[in-house]
């Protein structure tokens, strides 16, 4: 191979490497329902969070909407320690346990909080110009039906 061809090959390789995926996130399932709950009752559900990027990453856990204040997050293997962020190695996954404690005075109705799994943007390393980092925010739709029916 000629010297010029080697240089072109190396430049091409560097361009490919510089375009490698920075962030990737997945959740399953993207929605769930907890039916027939009662005021003051405690329930559990879980989601799987995937990091399909090469690099490890931090993922923030949050919830919004009516009923979101009832939700606490835990790593499934440490179900007694609440967390609001999880760290996942590259090409790995983590099961997140959701504990839902319905308020003692919750009116009987359907609640639809949304849970978010959000990536942390890497530090900006712009070469002097304006730079926008992508942030990936995965929503998980929850439906909690408070019926007050005790069995």
């Amino acid at each position: 191979m000629r010297k010029e061809e080697i240089v072109i090959l190396l430049i091409g390789l560097m361009m490919v490497l510089s375009c490698s995926t920075v962030q990737a996130v997945g959740v399953s399932p993207p929605s769930f329902t907890i039916s027939d709950t009662v005021e003051g009752g405690e329930y559990e559900s879980s989601i799987m969070v995937y990091n399909t990027a090469d690099a490890e990453g931090d993922y923030k856990l949050s919830a919004t909407g009516a009923g979101s204040e009832w939700i606490t997050f835990y790593r499934a293997e440490y179900p007694e320690t609440p967390v609001n962020k999880i760290h996942i190695k590259g090409h790995s996954k983590e099961r997140v346990l959701l504990k839902i404690k319905v308020a003692d005075d919750a009116p009987t109705m359907e609640y639809r909080p949304t849970i978010f799994v959000t990536t942390s943007p890497p530090e900006a390393t712009g070469g002097g110009g304006a730079v926008a980092q992508p942030v990936l925010q995965m929503p998980v739709s929850a439906t909690i039906l408070v019926t007050g029916t005790r069995h």
Partner: protein, 246 residues
């Protein structure tokens, strides 16, 4: 002397006894699923390019004992890619007292397998060709996995105040098993105490645009317009991408 069964016994000689034991169809006592992404009868799939291993275990009972079972197979419908027709199951360690034996097989489900119910039918055949096989079934539910990946930061470069950048793109790849839409929400860019508002980043991306499952991608166009009077400096911020099942 006559024995209870009415066979005359002559001292010093033996009598022939004959009996035929009927063959009994095997019974599938249970079918269960196990694996990393399995929860009960639900499975969450690893995103592209991974596969998800699920072990199917069937406990088979036969009144004629475990050795009377000639073989056990599983059939999955609708078909999961790579697993059409009968799938042989491996015999485990029998429970001699209970006359049962577990049979297992492990399938690797591709990441783009559609969500939904997959009926797993297990058939256990008897050694005797005249005895009906035993069958049982259970539904394995593949859940939706919403997963995306994107390329690195959007570098708008150096822009004159009052000017717009060239159109840049962010490639968003669908790594899950369901079609998705993408919400795009730019944030403000900042440099110290100076800010370029979120409204200065424009996109022509249409929210209703669907990105198909199975490693399909779309390029989201974004353009930055720097207002007149913006102090010079290197501004940084974020653009938030929010996928949803289409």
């Amino acid at each position: 002397m006559v024995a209870a069964v009415g066979v005359p016994i002559v001292n010093g000689e033996s009598a022939t006894a004959e009996a035929t034991v009927s063959g009994k169809s095997p019974v599938i006592n249970s079918i269960t699923f196990s694996g990393d992404g399995v929860s009960g009868t639900d499975v969450s799939l690893n995103p592209h390019p991974g596969t998800t291993s699920v072990t199917i275990t069937a406990v088979v009972y036969c009144e004629n004992g475990h050795n009377a079972v000639a073989g056990v197979t599983a059939n999955i419908l609708p078909v999961i890619v790579g697993y059409s027709g009968s799938i042989a199951m491996d015999k485990g360690t029998p429970d001699q007292q209970a006359h049962t034996c577990p049979y297992t097989t492990t399938i690797d489900i591709p990441s783009n397998t559609a969500k939904g119910g997959y009926n797993v039918t297990v058939t256990a055949t008897h050694n005797s060709g005249t005895v009906d096989p035993g069958t049982g079934s259970e539904t394995l539910t593949v859940l939706a996995t919403v997963a995306i990946a994107d390329l690195a930061a959007v570098e708008f470069g150096t822009i004159e105040p009052g000017e717009s950048s060239a159109a840049k793109t962010v490639r968003v790849t669908n790594l899950g098993n369901v079609d998705i839409t993408i919400g795009v929400a730019p944030g403000a860019l900042s440099h110290g105490g100076d800010t370029i508002s979120a409204g200065c980043i424009a996109t022509t991306w249409i929210l209703a645009t669907t990105i198909a499952a199975g490693n399909e991608y779309a390029d989201v166009p974004v353009t930055l317009t720097v207002p007149l009077g913006t102090p010079d400096g290197a501004y940084t911020g974020v653009i938030t991408f929010t996928p949803a099942e289409a």
